[in-house]
Symmetry: C2
Subunit: 189 residues, 2 copies
Amino acid sequence: MARPSLREHLIDAASERFHEYGFNGSGIKDITDAAGAPKGSFYNHFDSKESMAVEVMSRYGETRELGMLADKSVAPMERIRRHFVFLSEDLEQYGYTRGCMFGNFGAELSTQSPTIRDEVGRRLGSWESLLASVLEEARAAGELASGVDAVVLARFLVSAWEGAAMQAKVVRGSAPLDDFFAVFDSMTA
Amino acid sequence: MARPSLREHLIDAASERFHEYGFNGSGIKDITDAAGAPKGSFYNHFDSKESMAVEVMSRYGETRELGMLADKSVAPMERIRRHFVFLSEDLEQYGYTRGCMFGNFGAELSTQSPTIRDEVGRRLGSWESLLASVLEEARAAGELASGVDAVVLARFLVSAWEGAAMQAKVVRGSAPLDDFFAVFDSMTA
């Protein structure tokens, strides 16, 4: 089996570092040090810290298990709930210190980097579209208490989740996520 | 009338800079340059960039008009709505580029600075307590459609608002805030 390349090591190190300390809080040297690589090696593999961040987001996106939302063997509202539970377990694993990388980057970098802003928008937008489809299914199945348009409700739920993930970082605990689930459950008919 | 002191100029400059580029995206020299002051003057007035950020948050908090939430001449749900409209107009004024400073700092700095994390938590917590009181009033007046506990609902609404302010930065438009108002309005009985 091939050894992971230095490029992979750098992406792994940057994923950890960006998620915990943000983009501007992570110097290139922090990343190369964490990967056990000389600082000069960075530019052999990446054009810029920004283009590396786009790859880090792609890697992070693959771990969000959005496929769970397409699994029609689970009833729609329960399917959405399980997906958010999966995301909350991921936050818990790190003691609620990390939040959602998309939300973190959106908050930190939207003014600074059009490239990262577009990538965050594209990724949150895809998630919202999937959620909207499942909310439509839920409505058709008579599972949805709210009369709000499914697309609007999907975008609202993503905002609520992103804000709750941020507040969980601030209070270092699950309370804001528990609040999210309490309100989400009240939307099930 | 006394001239604003250099200290005031530095806080004004830092408020603008932090809100637009974040904490780690704003160097001390960026702040002193914007205030038209020599870099060395910073440490005559502040112990650290972190302690300056706490003052900036205090200044920002004063502009959030939390007093609107205590104005009993306005019916409870309408009072909450007007407060969020006020906040949305503030975001619009800057083309949705800035978001909420508390949410930005919470997302960017919760791992890096316990001082800032505590201050964000204290300020979001005060806001949530005020909102919870108004939601209790709304419930007593029969204005609240949701059966969720007022404290839980207040914290949830702040998460939803913070996430919407972040998404408004990402899409550079009001859509995420419009979604917030659509769902908020559906909570009014």
